[in-house]
Structures are given as C-alpha cells and as structure tokens.
Amino acid sequence: MPIEIAKAKPAVTPDSNPSDPAYLKIRDLIYRISGIYHAEEKLYLLVGRCARRMVALGVVSPSEYLEHLTTRGNRDAELRLLLNEITIGETYMFRHPCQLDALRNVILPQILQVKGLISLKRLRFWCAGCSTGEEPHTLAMFLLEEKDKLLAGWTFDILATDLNDNSLEAARAGIYGEYALRSTSDALRRKYFKDIGNKKLQANDLLKAPIHFDRINLRDDSKMLFQKGIDIIFCCNVLIYFDLASKRRVVQHFYSNLLPGGYLFMGSAESLFQVDDSFRLVHFPGTTAYWKPTATQAGGGKK
C-alpha cells in the first residue's frame, strides 16, 4: 500500500526589502506605541523580527502584515507578539557595558560625592521588570567588583522585581547557560558562579547576597508609592507594553521613588519623548539615562 506523505506546508518567504514603505509604517507604529525606535540603517533588524511573525502567520507582504498590526481584530495581541520578538535576545549578562561605564565614570562618583556628605553610605538600586535575573546579577557583579575601589566604605542592595512568578522563580534560582553568560569573563564566572553540570552555572551566595527579589506590579499604585530612597532604577524594555497613560504614571512613580540626583535607565532604543518632562535626558558615551536633578543642580547642563 502506497504510503501517503503528508504534503509539507509551503514555506512562506516574507518579502524582506527594508525599503518597502510598509516597513517604515511598521517602524513608526512601533515607535508611537512602544517608544522603541529603529533608525533607517537599523531597519533590517526590524525586518528580521517581522519576518518571524510573518512566517508564523503565513503572510508574505509587509503591507499585509501591517494590516494584522493595525486593522485586524487581533491587532493588540499581534503587536505584543512582535514586541516580544523585538526585545528577544536582549537578556544576557553585560548586555549593555556602556551603562556600566556611565555608572562607574560619571553617575556613581556624582552620587557618592553628594550622598557622602549627608547620609548613610548606602546605595539602593532597583531593577524594575528584572525578568529572569540577568540584569540584577550583572549589576551585582559590577558593584561587587567595585566594592574595594569606587565603593570602598559603602554598602548597597539591589531590589529586583517582576510581575511574572515564573520569571521571578528563575531569577531567584540564578541558573544560567552559555547564552546568558556569553559576555561574562572566565574570572567572573569562577568568582560568582558554581558549576552545576549540564553546561549550567548557578549564582553563588556571594552574588546573591546583595539582591532581594520581590513581585511588584508596576501598575499597582499603592506598592509603587511604597518604594522610596532609590538611587538608580533600571527599567529596560518593560514599559514598551504599556499604554501612554499607564507609562506616564509609572515614570512619575519612578521620579518620586528616586532620590534627587538619581538616575533611571531605560532600554537602549526606548524613548520617553512626550511621556515625561520631569526627568532630564543625559547622554553618556554609547548610552542615555534620565536624571532627577537635585535642587542645586536643576539650573544648567553638566559638561
């Protein structure tokens, strides 16, 4: 009896020419909705992300995919799936060395100088939307490495929060594979991780000690009001899923959560333009951050 071979679903090859105007429209839509912006020269990245969703949907032309994002009934869900694709691969340790350079070279010296005069020598960091923990663990490694240098005589703690219980559980366990550790040096791996076999490393007690994990919904006003006295907040690619009103409210909370002179880091392509004008945007080599001025610093720019 002849065996019937199921016909494979015809492979869909999405049209991936970045100069197709539909991709520019998708780019503008993503920017408007989420604040994530792709420069003309980086449009190919967005095209690649769209291609995955287009394959999944069996869509070939970008203009048809644009319809899925704008006029079809499931557009909100599709937009979320595309945003997931855009931010995927963002999570590995030491993903943003420029942020750490800015901390080491400018931000921490500035904060230490001001706080050193008036209060306890203690710094508070908050990773809001820490997902599976790569960001707080990176920050902890960075701070522990500075403990005897820049931070000599100072203590610090890191609050790492997320809404998703599964992510939090993974973050607490602190078990990572090669992808997450691709930019972590051997020396740091040996110092802050233990080998648990199966090509996995687990954060050791030294690395876990400064991090406190908690479940916080950024939309929960009462819990947001409770966070006080923070020096630096990281909230990368979390608010992209929020509508403008909720985004505004969260950013206003962050502003109150921070001490004067504190900084907020957002995702590298994430803009708060027209979301908030209390913070001051500060450019550092290769990165930007939002600054809450102190009363005396509010007047002018810093060189």
Binding site: Y37, K42, H283
Partner: protein, 305 residues
C-alpha cells in the same frame, strides 16, 4: 589669551600658507568657500577638481561610497552632480587639507579627525533641517570646519599639541581643557584665526571660536549653538578625537539649547533619543566613508571629467 600671544599666533597663521605645500586648488577653493551657495558654478567646480588627479580620484571614491548612496559614478562631472555642489565644495576642502598637512605633522590621526569633522558636519546639518534653520548646507560647512584649529596646532605647535593629546587621552578629558593648560590657548583660538585669515564668513569664524565656550554662544548666533550641540553628540557617539572621554551631557539643559529654542521652537519637538539613534545608525557609514576616502591608498590620477 593675552594680546601678545594673540598677535604671535596671528603672525604664525599668516605665514601658514607659505609653510605648507598647499595643492594648487586650495586658493581657488577658498575663494569658492566664500561664495554664497547659489553663486557656485558647476563648471568651475569640475574644472578645479580635474586639476588635481589625486583629489579627483578621492572625489569619485566619495561619490561611490555608501554614505552617498553608492552610485556608480565614473566622471568628475557626474560625481559632482550626484553629490551636489555644496557637498562637493565642503568635501573638497577636507581632501585638500589632507594634502596641506605634512604627514609627520598629524597629531590626531587623520581618520579620527575627519570622522569627527564629517560626523559633526552631518549632525549639524541634520539638526539644522529638523529645527528648520534656513541654510542647512552652511550648517554642514560650519560643522566640517569647526575644529580647523587642531590642524593649525598640529602644524605650528606639533610637539606641544602632541603632549596635549597624550594627557587628554590619559585623563579622559576634553582636549580643549588640556590645550589651555599646556599651550595657554586652544584650537578655539587658532581655528577662527585661520578662518578669518582665509576670509570665511563671520558665522563660520564664530562657530569655530565658540563651540566649546558656552558663555560666548549668546552673542555668536544659532550656527555656533548648532555646532556646539553636534560636537557634544558626536563625542558621546564615539566620534571624538580617537580616545575615550568621560562625559555626561544634559543637552536640554545646555545654554546652546536654550538659545536655539528661543529662535527655533521646532527644537522642542525633537526626540533626542530618536535623533541619537539616527546618528548612531549613520555612524558606520561615516566611518566607512572616511576610511575609504582618506584611509586607503589614494586612487591613481586616472579620473578625468
């Protein structure tokens, strides 16, 4: 800077034309830089370029580079048409300066210098377009010329300037700060003197003089403010002078920003994060262009109009 030092510098700069072996096209080119854009004639530009085979070759290379759309251009005339007269005029200038400065006098690596200058030219122009400044091509030229003083210092004070660069790189500080400490003056003094000596417009002279000194900006006009902001953006986007500077810049709180907003309110509608990402996107192309034009072995003098 005291009057005695100023007159000494000026005397040195006046002699600069005879010190260096300027290509024959430099003087006619300077005449052209003094003209308003609408007075430049295509035939004149093509003639000038064709005069110097090495510069003609580099001009073609530029027209064919990815930054300008990777056109397949084979004649000087079509290269000039493709790039546009204004762009050609300012690019010619940088090609020409490369010939003017003797190889052993370059203190900042030529590639780093031109990446910064071309980067600043493009950013100044783009920002000018965003805020609806009436003459974006002049903005481009101002960005291109703002650091000419570095070349003056390289030629006239080679060893002293080399020491400035060494210290600035070691301490990760802005170069003009160290120039003041070591030389007693900076490229913001010598650059405008050369611009003036060449008879360039007051706005271009001011942009070269005021781009680091915020206190001078309010009297200098919008072009100097644009160049000041673009220079800062360039440096945070890794298009500095070839070393890492430690810096944190609040552009929105900068005096230049406030001066510009008063005349060009469109600046308020500029998303700076987005603008920076756009610049960042163009960086690779700026670097590739400068490297392909200035870095690689120059094309033989085979190009003709």
């Amino acid at each position: 800077m005291n009057a005695k030092l100023q007159s000494q510098l000026q005397a040195q700069i006046n002699k600069l034309d005879s010190v260096s072996t300027a290509p024959a096209i430099l003087m006619p080119l300077l005449d052209m830089l003094r003209l308003p854009s609408d007075k430049i004639r295509l035939e004149k530009v093509v003639e000038l370029i064709s005069y110097d085979g090495s510069i003609a070759g580099q001009c073609l290379r530029l027209a064919n580079s990815p930054l300008f759309g990777r056109r397949q251009t084979e004649t000087v005339r079509s290269a000039v048409m493709a790039l546009g007269l204004e762009r050609v005029r300012s690019m010619l200038f940088s090609l020409c300066m490369n010939e003017v400065i003797p190889r052993d006098k370059w203190v900042i690596a030529p590639n780093a210098f031109w990446r910064h200058s071309l980067g600043c030219a493009l950013i100044t122009q783009r920002m000018a377009q965003k805020i609806e400044y009436p003459d974006p091509e002049k903005a481009y030229l101002a960005g291109l010329l703002h650091d000419l003083g570095f070349l003056v210092n390289s030629v006239l004070y080679t060893e002293g300037f080399r020491e400035c660069l060494r210290r600035a790189a070691e301490q990760h500080l802005p170069l003009h700060v160290i120039e003041e400490q070591v030389l007693g003056f900076s490229h913001c003094d010598t650059g405008p003197m050369l611009c003036q000596h060449w008879g360039l417009s007051k706005e271009l002279v001011d942009a070269a003089r005021c781009h680091h000194d915020v206190s001078l900006l309010s009297t200098a006009g919008p072009l100097a403010c644009l160049v000041h902001l673009s220079d800062l953006l360039c440096r945070v986007c890794y298009l500095g002078y070839g070393y890492d500077e430690i810096m944190g810049v609040d552009l929105g709180g900068d005096a230049a920003w406030e001066i510009l907003v008063a005349t060009y309110p469109a600046l308020k509608n500029m998303d700076l994060v987005r603008f920076t990402l756009d610049i960042d996107g163009a960086m690779d192309q700026i670097i590739a262009t400068v490297d392909s034009v200035f870095g690689a072995k120059r094309l033989a003098a085979s190009a003709t109009s």
